[in-house]
Amino acid sequence: MSVSTVSQYSAAPAILPAASGMRGVLSDAFWRRPKLLLLLMLLPPVLWLGIIYIGSLFALLLQSFFSIDEFSGLINREFTLKTYGDLFQAANLDIILRTVTMAATVTLASAVIAFPIAYYAARYARGRWKALFYLAVMLPLWSSYLVKIYAWKLILAKEGILTWLFAKLNLLWLLDAWLSLPVVGGNSLSVSFTGTFIVFVYVWLPFMILPMQAALERVPGNLIEASADLGASPGQTFRNVLLPLALPGIVAGSIFTFSLTLGDYIIPQVIGTSRLFIGQAVYTQQGTAGNIPLAAAFAVVPIVIMGLYLWMAKRMGAFDAL
């Protein structure tokens, strides 16, 4: 080995070695201008969101200001509020009211059922139990939505396992009494609003549990202790510390359950009565009825309702703890 190669390797490395190659130069350029990298990374998703997503939403909004010529069935492309006026016809108003009531009760029930589960997972479950919790919550999401709904149809049917269970427990009279109630009742659970409600709660529950659990996990344990230390009973600690601090998570979860219920058109079609929900109304108006403007106006309703809901939640201080 010649002297020169030895000295080449044994020499101390340069204090500020030059950038090597194209990639080195690129890395240096991005390091000096971090915003450039951010811009490059954000551009594709922003274009996607901006053009395809917001753009189509805008097109939808535009459609809702058109109207349909009742005589010819053609779309009249002049701006009018007539289609929105149609929403206030008794039959359409009925659909909106039914959907909102269902979404609200589903959300409330999901919150009540999800809280203990999320609380346990956030405050007590560790290691293996935590993994089991995530698995149990996520597992139902792995199977097809349609398969689950048809499974529920069988469970809730008159010949289904639920009726059988009630019979075995000698509680058939209770089921019959419930089904004979107006509005929530019906011939069997699978053709009643109660059935629709049960399946909605089942399908959307994970979307309530996960944000709630994340929010509860962020509440420091010593705040719970501090509250008890200052004389608050467990109930008072729940109302004054835990609930306000977990509220952003509860609101996030309720946005999911509420908006998903508002927009769904498959569950009420498979399970429940023949009365329509907003999603079904959109589906029939744009399909068989060919009334795209009214379908668009119906589709705007959930957006407006969610906007109102968020505004109210903000007014009530749901995001103060963020």
């Binding site: 501090a226 008890a228 200052l230 608050a232 103060d320």
Partner: protein, 332 residues
Amino acid sequence: MTPAVSFQKVSRHFGAVKAVDTVDLDIAPGEFFAMLGPSGSGKTTCLRLIAGFEQPTAGLIAIFGERAEGVPPYRRNVNTVFQDYALFPHLNILDNVAYGLMVKGIGKAERHKAAEEALSLVRLPGYGERRPSQLSGGQRQRVALARALVNRPKVLLLDEPLGALDLKLRENMQDELKSLQKVLGITFVFVTHDQGEALSMADHVAVFNDGRIMQVGTPRDIYERPRTRFVADFVGSSNVLPPDFVQRYSGQRRWGSLRPEAIRVVKSTRDDGLSARLVSANYLGATTRLALDADGLRLHAVVPAGTSLPEEGEALVLTFNRDQLHLMDEPA
């Protein structure tokens, strides 16, 4: 007189870990009591046992003579200042301080007035509208103190409350806590791992190690008459002297302790003391701490600033008053 807090053979085990192991303790009403020890020594668990966050595995706990086992924290007239303050982030300062009164059902006007007074007491008047996140560490500390004091607790527990503050602020808060305690006459139980803090503030100090109390006494007792090597070493970093060495000076074969400031260091080669060499010198401002090697025995001495320092490796003679040599109880 009934002790404010009394432990009788109290243990708290977590599985195989004995966090607190058969501790006996009496804290007098109205005193400033410090629990001192390294981390994991059981002092914080003892505090949590008084607060009610932990229940003893065995033993009896009494607060002002009333048995406390099984009583939840919210039914104890005891309040805690938490290590990281634990202020409620969703409430403003006034509502944070008024929280204890709010859950007791006291009306808004009355509890806000009391909270405002408590904020004045900790020298934060007019801060009520702010959020905890808008305050500095020292200010949050005062709010946590006000929030506890507004409930007029019989015992106030402080869990390393000054740990997160910088030196200057810590010294100010030490003085303030001490004078607050004098004015209010409330029993303060203070957990710390800082021996200087414990010695300067407390009426009595309990030194913890491995879940047990090694020694309880006045700061002077603890500092000047440590009973075991651990206490001598942990409190004031005394020189621990082995039995053979002690025997030469006192005639008794016992472990001894000698405080660094009791050692006089003379530049000399005469034979009238303990000959030693300087290993290193640490400049501490008001004093300089010398590490010395006396025939294999490592000793520390403290000399005041301005003393001319010996060179490293220079031959020195160490002398001390024999009555400064303290004999410890710990068997040889």
